[in-house]
């Protein structure tokens, strides 16, 4: 659907009053016609072109059922109207269209009456400065010629070149360890002039030397979704030179956006029911330089509407065939300490860099990027060591959830159910070492999670178009929407991860995989990817499978994957901390858990637990893709594995440092698996400080990271089948081992 045209039309054409006497114009307002009724803009244009040259077909409004057809000549429009108005049109699926002449009135309807300023002073945003004619026409041509000779990286709607450091759109950050080189010689002169600007030389935080340049080429009609450049990525001012074409840039600030960190609305919010948006628009002519510092850089979203024409001072400005922007920045080394905390990814957890993130992503991460997932995964693995993407804090996800839930009065009758379900309430081990950790590491975790596992993709692809799929424990939502012909709903117990899903435009909610908030039999399929191994007893794992089966329809399928004891890369296991003893019994009693942990770590929780992660290969963190060493099963079963293999391989090689009883044959399935949160992401946050102080996390100076432990029960061979066969009403239709995971596919009877 052509949204660009829609915007133009909404802004520029008056919807005629029905029945009014009309002077013919070149523009026909056509009702009962448009993409929403199956007629593409091109088809419409072809049909109308039979009457004369058609300048454009634009959508009128958002319904998709009305268009404005603009002819070059008034008489052609009149002829078309005469021939087609109220008549059945065989060329357009026999539709009967209704037509009126429309009047083009740019200034009246332009952009919701948002006046477009031509000087930065008129905008009144501190830190916003526009220098018209910063470069000459000759310089402009030279710069354009230089970049045109070089190769572009093609994004969904525009092309880019990166110099100094590559800006990684998936992470919305740069990788400091991957310097591409110095800025190219053809910008030397411009950079030298930029470096003398008072905004840079006199700014509070250093903006010099400029060491990163992104060149963007926007074709006519392409804009930029509203966003704030990631605080943690760049420091000081951001400078953007507009070449070749012009555009209107809109600046937006949400004045009542008080729920950034917590997700909890303030009273004020509740009263008003919505946040207020301040908007300013500024015309950026070719060869102008835009400087964003301080408030303009840190707390205002900037946005370029996807228009082909802009309305400025009552006139219409056609955008050029393309606009090429040269954006100069200084890569940040260390956390952002700005005072605009609520927009700062260095200081607040999981903040959206844009309220319209999904748009951003769709623009900047096209599907073709998936082809590069391997590469990207590698990059991200390095990043997670070296630090880069989001940061996070204890901030509140946990607290927040509690608050949200506690707001509610619990009816007395439901309280009485307590004792009966005591056995499946969430054990402390999971609250602390699963939920709390994922909340704390969510943005960083998410930024390393985009490799899609082919077996999951194959399962999703096998579903009929129109299927509705529940992803239980969806994490950052990387599988949501993977089959575009299906509808996905994700849920996860971590509000911080669900917030990331929502920002990406996915349908997701906060819920517990053991208590899915869905009616029974609704879904065509359900998936549980790398979730069950975070549940700490058999009863809970069975319950989670029961829930998956419950929510799918008869004949519906459920895919479950879990980490295997049998890791393909056994070195990984050495980085994990085995937990002492076997956990065949429910870990439901807090005291039991605590005492258990104490046994393995003496007094203060985790400090004393040794960790075997000497070599931190990049893979370290990549969830679904690996597994561990083989051990045996809890309940005494040998899971069909040869006992020979077990006796030879059983103990992780370094497990002698465990305080455990150390029986060589004891299977080891309970682990803490470390997550390394790079210092410069963690240090400014009270969360990590608090986690460190309480012993919940620890420092690893060698790696420069705060280490969080996640609880895992890794599955032995045969265990997942035995577990799922306990669930009534479903049969196993497939089970397999792949990439260090055990997997089953169930079908509901």
């Amino acid at each position: 659907m052509d949204r660009t045209s829609s915007a133009d039309a909404a802004g520029g054409f008056i919807k005629p009053k029905p029945g009014a006497e009309q002077e013919p114009t070149a523009h026909l307002f056509v009702a009962n016609c448009g993409p929403a009724v199956g007629l593409s803009v091109n088809t419409i244009k072809t049909v109308f072109s039979a009457f004369g040259p058609v300048e454009a077909v634009r959508l009128a409004g958002d319904s998709g059922t009305r268009v404005v057809v603009s002819f070059e000549n008034v008489q052609d429009a009149a002829a078309a109207k005469k021939a087609l108005d109220g008549q059945k049109c065989e060329d357009l699926q026999g539709r009967v269209m209704f037509m009126q002449f429309s009047v083009f009135q740019p200034p009246v309807l332009a952009e919701d009456h948002l006046p477009v300023m031509t000087t930065s002073a008129d905008c009144g945003i501190p830190g916003l400065v526009l220098y018209p004619d910063f470069v000459s026409e000759v310089e402009e041509q030279r710069l354009l010629a230089s970049v045109d000779q070089l190769s572009w990286q093609v994004l969904a709607k525009r092309r880019v070149q990166h110099y100094g450091y590559e800006f990684l759109y998936k992470l919305r950050n740069v990788d400091l360890s991957q310097k591409l080189g110095d800025l190219p010689p053809f910008v030397e002169e411009v950079v030298s002039r930029l470096s003398k600007l008072s905004e840079l030389t006199e700014s509070r935080e250093p903006s010099l030397p400029l060491d990163q340049l992104t060149v963007n080429e926007y074709p006519r009609g392409v804009g930029l979704s509203p966003h704030i450049d990631t605080h943690s990525a760049f420091e000081g001012s951001i400078l953007s030179l507009s070449l070749a074409g012009s555009c209107v840039m809109e600046f937006r600030r949400y004045t009542n956006e008080s729920s950034d960190e917590s997700g909890i609305r303030t009273e004020h919010d509740k009263e008003s029911g919505k946040s207020q948006m301040e908007r300013r628009a500024l015309f950026l002519p070719p060869r102008s330089l835009l400087v964003l510092s301080d408030e303009a850089r840190y707390s205002w979203h900037h946005y370029i509407p996807h228009h082909k024409i802009d309305y400025v001072n009552g006139g219409v400005v056609e955008r050029g065939l393309r606009r090429v922007s040269f954006t100069f920045r200084k890569v940040r080394r260390g956390p952002c300490k700005c005072k605009f905390v609520r927009y700062c990814d260095s200081q607040v957890e999981g903040i959206p860099s844009s309220p319209f993130l999904s748009n951003m992503e769709s623009e900047e991460c096209s599907h073709s990027d998936w082809l590069n997932v391997e590469t990207m995964a590698d990059t991200s693995a390095e990043l997670s060591e070296d630090g880069s993407p989001g940061w996070n804090s204890k901030t509140l996800p946990q607290t927040e959830t509690e608050k949200a839930v506690n707001e509610v009065e619990t009816p007395e009758e439901t309280r009485q159910q307590l004792s009966q379900y005591f056995s499946i309430r969430t054990p402390e081990i999971e609250k602390q070492y699963v939920h709390k950790v994922y909340d704390a590491i969510a943005p960083h975790f998410s930024s390393t999670r985009f490799a899609k596992w082919p077996k999951v993709a194959a399962f999703l692809d096998s579903l009929s178009p129109g299927s509705v799929i529940a992803d239980s424990g969806c994490g950052n939502g990387k599988y949501l929407g993977l089959n575009p012909s299906c509808f996905f709903i994700g849920c996860d117990i971590s509000p911080a991860l669900v917030a990331i899903c929502a920002q990406r435009g996915h349908e997701a909610l906060v819920a517990d995989a053991l208590h899915l908030p869905y009616r029974s039999g609704f879904y065509d399929a359900a998936i549980s990817i790398a979730v069950l191994h975070h549940l700490s007893n058999d009863q809970r794992r069975v319950r989670a499978v029961e829930e998956l089966v419950r929510v799918v329809r008869t004949g519906g399928k459920v895919l479950i994957t879990v980490w295997a004891v049998e890791q393909e890369d056994s070195k990984l296991v050495q980085k994990w901390t085995p937990l002492q003893g076997k956990y065949t019994e429910s870990w439901v009693d807090d005291e039991e858990v605590t005492s258990h942990l104490k046994k393995s770590s003496s007094t203060s929780s985790l400090d004393m637990i040794q960790e075997f992660d000497g070599n931190a290969e990049g893979k370290l963190d990549d969830e679904e893709e690996f597994l561990g060493e083989r051990e045996e099963e809890q309940d005494g079963h040998r899971g069909g594995l040869s006992s020979l293999a077990e006796s030879e391989e059983q103990e992780p090689s370094d497990s002698n440092s465990l305080p455990a009883a150390g029986k060589v044959q004891e299977p080891q399935q309970e682990y803490f698996v470390p997550w390394h949160l790079p210092y410069h992401r963690a240090e400014v946050t009270g969360a990590s400080v608090a986690a460190l102080a309480s012993g919940f996390a620890r420092k690893d100076d060698k790696k420069g990271a705060v280490v969080y432990n996640r609880y895992y029960h890794v599955f032995a061979e045969g265990e997942l089948e035995r577990l799922t066969s306990k669930v009534k009403g479903a049969v196993i239709v497939d089970s397999f081992y792949d990439k260090s995971n055990w997997c089953v596919i169930l079908q509901k009877l």
Binding site: D62, T414, Q417, Y421, G466, S485, P495, A499, A508
Partner: protein, 122 residues
């Protein structure tokens, strides 16, 4: 949260027998354009609890969804468009979902329902 999602959601507090449909408390709505897919719409209809969908549409201010759906209507593009809009394009951004039996209120914040139960509700 879309109305399609609402149609799947149920309050599963222990002991609740009629946790569906949740009533909707609206504080803020949003509309997000979604690709029109008539096949998907036709496929989804049998799954929906239509009365609940109709009532949900009314509670978000959409009064053009018929109280009953007839297969014949699936041939009408106009109907499918209204259906599409109500099902997929209108989002509850801020508000709450309320259990019809217990009155338990599940908050919806930034488009995300929080359906977590308290420990003594499971």
């Amino acid at each position: 949260m879309r109305l399609l999602t609402h149609n799947m959601l149920s309050c599963n507090i222990k002991g609740v027998t009629k946790g569906f449909p949740l009533s909707i408390e609206v504080q803020k709505l949003d509309t997000k354009e979604t690709d029109f897919n008539p096949d998907f719409l036709r496929n989804i209809i049998p799954k929906l609890e239509w009365k609940a969908f109709h009532d949900a549409a009314v509670s978000v201010g959409l009064n053009d969804i018929p109280e009953q759906v007839d297969p014949v209507m699936l041939e009408y593009t106009e109907f499918l468009q209204k259906f599409h809009h109500a099902l997929l394009e209108v989002h509850l951004e801020e508000g709450a979902l309320i259990c019809p039996e217990t009155g338990r209120r599940f908050p919806v914040t930034k488009g995300v329902p929080n359906m977590l139960l308290l420990e003594d509700e499971v």
